[in-house]
Amino acid sequence: MDELLSILKENALESPDNIAKMLNISVDEVRKRIAEYEKRGIIKGYQALVNVDALNINRVTALIEVKVSPEREGGFNRIANRIGKFPEVQSIYLISGDFDLLLFVVGADLKEVAFFVSEKLATIEGVQATASHFMLKTYKHHGVLMEAQDEYERLKVTP
């Protein structure tokens, strides 16, 4: 992967000035390349990595496996995009195995998500079966461990 993208993937707030210094290129060049990535849809956006568990709000996330019948033209694409229109659905992946689609769905509470599954998702034509798994705790998200680990103490000056 382009080093510029690795830097932004690690820290989207990194300043163009610092990135320029790290990559030995000009600040203008950094801005230009970021703009190009945005234009080409390679950078789709920038979001904060929020530790939701640490906030005292009502919110549950469910991982939902969905079995669907593929269509003659387009396979799973049309139905996946249709499911994706629901704002409750955070992510959708096509997966191998017993089920076809994997969904991450959020709601205020268990009831709300259950309602979404039974009333909206399961009733879509082509959806054959669903299996819901409610998430209880997030340990690691986007490569980041959520709980601070004790740092092993290192010497401050060594030869």
Binding site: I7, K21, R154, T158, P159
Partner: protein, 394 residues
């Protein structure tokens, strides 16, 4: 025996030991350690954790019972893996059965190499600024340390001319460390050839400490040991501390022709017996997919190196481009301060620790060592504080 007793009897401590000064870095460490909220660019080890698969494999090895002595030379399977790795990486083939000795870090290997060669009064040359242990180890072996200065004019690469000015009939060996701690200097192929010619013409043994070999940037590492005529007169030292971020495992090795390996082994078997077996297992795991482990860390060092160099440039601190290790060695001469004064001032006023170049030898005067094996966020804060310090000096 308590300190008081030895004070009352000044002849208790061996004389050649008393003559060796304490490491300058030690005093500096005491001061830094007594302060709060210091950002340290003074750390000579990777800030990365050892890759998890290596730690996990070590834990598993201990569970399986890797807690006993190994052969004096070290585990044969590890020596075989090292032989392959060294051949692949350095174009040097050593026989795992009799030419490779696993040691407790390169530090021990270096001590063994020097003791194996040195008769009282023999001279051993080394270039400086250099790692803090070289001269003391030669003194411990009753040898005479002969330093060869290097300078920023030649990017701290040792020159043939400088070597020739210091060689005498008593010179037994040349001790080399490239990529270099503290300067970050790395050799060109021509430098390596010059050194090889010099060593052969003067019939010396070369001890080459290549612990930073994997960490070179825009310059391929060349081991002088791999040049024609050198293998038979070289002790090649390497280990896992730097490239794999495994400093605390203390896993290193020496490769040399059988006669030299035997001599080192004789000391090792009586003083150390063997390197710790869990660390040997860790080293073995480190060699399963070394290129991948190293690539990620190296990519990160490169970005930080560039960031630091460009930041120095911006604040008006001149620094030659270091092509290896994870150190930058900027010149602070324009400030009018000595290396010691600069480092103390920066620590005192801005709470940034970098090591005065003089801790690594007199040619380090006018320079400070800044390690970029430091998290990027800390580097960013450190350069801001350094710029503020420099501004006040103007």
């Amino acid at each position: 025996m308590s300190t008081n007793d030895s004070k009352s009897r000044p002849d208790v401590i061996a004389r050649h030991l008393v003559d060796v000064p304490r490491s300058g870095i030690r005093d500096f460490f005491e001061i830094v350690n007594s302060m709060q909220d210091v950002i340290s660019l003074g750390i000579g080890e990777p800030d990365f954790d050892t890759p998890w698969h290596i730690r996990e494999a070590t834990i598993f090895a201990i569970e399986r019972g890797a807690t006993s002595y190994t052969s004096n030379l070290g585990l044969l399977k590890l020596r075989r893996a090292i032989a392959d790795y060294v051949e692949r990486t350095f174009a040097l083939r050593y026989d795992a059965e009799q030419e490779i000795l696993i040691t407790v870090g390169v530090s021990e290997a270096l001590d063994l190499a020097i003791r194996a060669l040195c008769n009282p009064g023999d001279e051993i040359m080394y270039h400086e600024p250099c790692y803090v242990s070289y001269a003391p180890l030669i003194q411990f072996a009753h040898g005479i340390p002969v330093s060869v200065p290097t300078s920023s004019d030649h990017e701290f690469r040792v020159t043939r001319k400088a070597l020739e000015s210091r060689v005498t009939p008593k010179t037994k060996a040349l001790l080399l460390n490239y990529p270099n701690n503290p300067t970050g200097a790395a050799l060109t192929t021509k430098d390596a050839q010059d050194i090889a010619d010099f060593v052969q013409e003067n019939d010396l043994i070369l001890i080459t400490d290549e612990i930073y070999a994997e960490l070179t940037y825009d310059r391929a590492h060349v081991s002088p040991a791999s040049l024609p005529g050198m293998r038979e007169r070289t002790i090649f030292l390497h280990g896992f501390s730097k490239a794999w971020a495994m400093t605390g495992f203390r896993a290193g090795y020496a490769c040399a022709p059988p006669e030299l390996t035997d001599a080192m082994m004789k000391i090792h078997q009586y003083t150390m017996l063997c390197a710790p077996s869990p660390s040997q297992e860790a080293a073995l795991e480190a060699l399963t997919d070394p290129e991948q482990d190293i690539a990620d860390m190296k990519a990160s060092y490169l970005k930080r190196r560039n960031f630091l160099l460009n930041s120095f440039r911006e604040m008006g601190l001149s620094c030659f481009e270091p092509h290896g290790a994870f150190y930058a060695f900027p010149s602070i001469r324009d400030t009018g301060l000595s290396a010691q004064e600069f480092a103390m001032g920066l620590l005192d006023q801005e709470k940034v620790a970098c090591v005065p170049g003089t801790a690594f030898g007199p040619s380090g005067e006018g320079f400070v060592r800044c390690s970029y094996a430091t998290a990027l966020d800390e580097l960013k804060e450190a350069v801001q504080r350094m710029a503020a310090f420099l501004n006040r000096l103007k």
